[in-house]
Symmetry: D2
Subunit: 342 residues, 4 copies
């Protein structure tokens, strides 16, 4: 049975990625596309790579007819999301891709985002969208808040290791190498090709990256005690992909075994043989996560490497996976894409 969906914020990269994925979905049909500045345009003008598709014209939120819609994907910018979602009909299922509803504690939100939350009731309702760890909650949810793409990458590496016996919870360093599409389509000087393409640099250093709020929340919850990782992202001159190195103290073999067991039944998460490492080029454009573990010399230390595509498994693929659960569809529908290599 076909389900109708609408996408708010369809003129950004995560909106376009949703459309790409849903194009191959047997049971989901897009009936409305929202945008603000670009309302009134055909999608072919905004994203010419979609020009072969029959898609609704972009509309302002208030013009959209949501009467027959079952689920809304909200790919709006941060802050905008918490303004718009409360205005949606309350029977609608919603998958939000913004950062607005990821943190459960309003105080945490205020700490990391610098302002009070404007939709506290919705915030309470939101289920954190890391599918493999909240699957049953998501299946039952009306409202799911997608994770940060960096957060997802780190959480896949670390969540199964939080029992207190496998690694030293006081000593976790996350070093991520991040492609540029995660920054979206915003007009910023440092995102220009001429600025970016021949160099790389760390950013949001010093414990300032907002995804730390998600790491704190989820890792502490899993550990049953406060866990605070040190996280540094580096912007890499390429478009798609996140590669994370989690430096931990623990036995590599035990860590590899724990990760292998945890993900044995997960279709989209693959743990490589011990000692093999993943590459972003091998998951590009797909909903896959590749995880590898390497032992450091001397013993007692290990590195957990993880790779995913920030636009797919890190945001829009995750969103569709969650929508499938919420709509009672096969969880992998529309998501069985082979990575694009080369």
């Amino acid at each position: 049975m076909a389900h109708n969906v609408a996408i708010l914020g369809a003129s950004g990269y995560t909106g376009a990625e949703l459309i790409r994925l849903i194009a191959g979905h047997p049971d989901i049909h897009i009936t409305a596309l929202g945008a603000d500045r670009k309302a009134g345009l055909e999608m072919s003008a905004v994203f010419p790579h979609l020009r072969h598709m029959a898609l609704p014209r972009l509309q302002k939120r208030e013009e959209m007819d949501l009467a027959s819609v079952d689920l809304v994907f909200c790919a709006l910018p941060h802050v905008t999301s918490q303004q718009v979602i409360p205005t949606l009909p309350s029977h609608l299922k919603v998958v939000d891709l913004s950062a607005d509803f990821r943190l459960r504690d309003p105080a945490d939100y205020e700490t990391w985002y610098g302002q009070p939350h404007a939709a506290l009731d919705l915030q309470k309702e939101a289920v954190y969208g890391l599918t493999e760890f909240y699957r049953e909650d998501i299946r039952a949810a009306r409202f799911v808040a997608g994770t940060g793409c960096n957060a997802a990458t780190g959480l896949y590496s670390l969540l199964p290791l939080m029992d207190g016996a496998l690694i030293d919870l006081e000593d976790i360093i996350l070093d991520m190498k991040v492609g540029v599409s995660g920054a979206g389509r915003a007009l910023k000087e440092n995102l220009l090709h001429a600025e970016l393409s021949e160099g790389w640099h760390a950013y949001a250093t010093g414990g300032k990256h907002r995804h730390l709020g998600e790491f704190d929340q989820e890792l502490s919850k899993a550990a049953g005690r406060p866990v605070a990782v040190h996280f540094t992202p580096t912007l890499v001159p390429a478009n798609r992909g996140i590669l994370s190195a989690a430096y931990v103290k623990g036995d590599a073999t035990a860590i590899h075994s724990a990760l292998s067991q945890r993900y044995a039944a997960e279709k989209f998460v693959e743990v490589l043989p011990l000692g093999e490492v993943p590459s972003t080029r091998h998951i590009r454009g797909s909903n896959l996560v590749h995880i590898g573990v390497s032992a450091e010399r001397g013993g007692g230390r290990a590195t957990v490497h993880a790779a995913l595509d920030n636009l797919t498994k890190g945001s829009s693929g995750q969103a569709l996976q969650n929508a499938n659960l919420m709509l009672g569809l096969a969880e992998d529908a529309g998501l069985n894409l082979t990575p694009l290599f080369p």
Copy 2:
């Protein structure tokens, strides 16, 4: 009904691209994968981006069991192809992706490839694989020879203009900007990232590019008289895509109209509105061709721009499209992929 296929030369880029496409095909099943140097390896070792798939191990040609196979994709290097294909059981349908069987006249083959052809009977049997122009022949064929990727790009631009009334057949210049994956996985110094990534250059200049043999053959056939284009490719520091500019003398509006009519019913070929130009980023990873026409100032001259993905529509996508026809399947099965952008 499922059809079994084998891929010879599965360790190269076109082999991997076939696997990517067939992964989403409802009616085709891969039962054997051939390779030479890499025989004995799992595909996950040769192409880690395919590691989530259950694929046969790579085998030498002589070890492969082709008993239940309906069709073989031959993605072997040039020259090797004409040695191997004659050894295949003669009831097998074959789609060849090499250059070996594209030219009908043995003398032409010898001119462009510098040696006599080693399988003249097969050469006679081969149908040229430009689907939109040889569809019925391909449907009836046992053996189809895939086109060159540059040849396909130029032929889509020019074949509908060959009636002698639309453009000056004596004055056609083809300038193509070509991504590097077309050169394959060969170990050549000029294909190293450090060599290639920050510069671009023309190659095979001076009428020496072998795809000229295909242009001569197909354009002359369509025109009913000899047509010899001038063709210069430039290697662009990016992986996938061919962008062609065909500089012709003729009326842009009439040319646009002829192209629009010719491709109106073609699912994979889209003619943009007059004056709009295509970009390789908008067809990347898909089986689409985008064609645009621009009028030059002063009138009397026009440029026909065409873009396709050399690994998809330019080789493996075309091969699958042809295989679908040869097997009596829906022509677009497995080929409805949305381009990957960004």
Copy 3:
């Protein structure tokens, strides 16, 4: 003897490139740097790659002390240049890098730039800055207008062929592949890394590119009759470089000979052996032009290939070369940089 210079528009790419070149100049000293939006900032904040240098702070034009300055480089945006230069003290030598003073005929300016020129007297005074063709005029000039970077690339290829005997002046096609830094540091969606880096496309097609005004002016002047080329640029996903293919009707050997003779004494222009083609990677970051000629099959047609770095020989290197002449210095001072490869 040291000469003092100021740079207006120092926060853009051509401004930074001037500083890079002058850093190695024995006789030129930068005493003032102008900017508008970024006035008040240190250059290290605007261009951290210059942080090791002792440079003046950025100032608004009206704050700059030009008393001891001998020459001003004006790297302002188009239109701004014609507003600012008339306000400079009239004894100052000026090298303008904008498009404002390249066209001698006010009607041509209005045609290509869509508005009347605001500084007609200065326009009359301006010497066109293509050094190798206006050397003596430049040496004597107070005011030099730098050429367009595409214009320079094409003119190096074509100007020595304009005598009417070597090539058919009615049939010249210029196809250029252009790096992205030529578009400057402007915040435009299509210049973002995520938009640009994996694709390429033609732009300003249909005889609309403004550098056509320069081609018309200079080629017609050299030929002594109207010459109108057809020019299509393609934006390549890389930062520096222009590669031009000029498709002409004429004898390749004669063309090669004419170019070789014309540039035999020119230090920065090198004509490669007949049949060899240039690459942008081999002139990157230098003031060099590489020119190659290839014969097309069948005879009677040839391609003149030229490569230069748009930021160096195409703008700031040319500007410094001209300033050297205007100040009575060695023409190559500060310009003997070896290309950066890889």
Copy 4:
């Protein structure tokens, strides 16, 4: 006074980089260039970006006339270096760019390189080429062994912190993001543009990277006790640059202060203000090192970021800096290049 030098291994990237730098050196003249496979060729055939220079033809080692040579740069592959250098006239000064003579202890060499050293006497004589830490030894040396490019990047970050009071010497993690030119011009599948350009991955994980031998040697020597870092490099799809993050336990302000003091008088090493981070794009093509320090949240942890160009400061620039000292020339001669940005 001019000094004559020869370069062995001139057909590789470090050889070409030496030529680029020496081209701007007032007192060094290249009289002979050695190569093996490419002996007999002109440099313009091997490196067309050097075609404007008058350079000696490539010769086999045994054909080279070293009679008038003062110093030899040896840019040969590892292992070859220890075979060739002992055959050179013993009065010649030598700067080796290979890995063969970096480790003082023959047992260490055997551990990291898997075979006994073939030139133990020379090994004893070699001075480790990290200029800022061995300046006086280098000035007096006949034979200097250049450092690894990753080793240099990490040592600049860490050597001034080894006194035992500033950071926890048991807990140092080095995560480096490395451009591809460091892998040289070798024909390896994983260095092809099509393989590399759209993804990134860690390599030599698990304490296997050979530069660990250098880290162990130099950090332990500076600390006066064994220090073993954990080091993971990630290959980034870009040509030049190394960006290192050293994760340490210690006070960021004290660390920043120690680094600032240590490098205050060093021309090529710049410590950024506390909290600012370097980028490879800002040192590209130059001999500069940029170092930044960021405090991690919670206190007690800091990250030392360092960026340098692997081909310049990481190898050939360092080699020339050392040669300048060995020849009694100004240490910075030929090395005052401004980074190339964009």
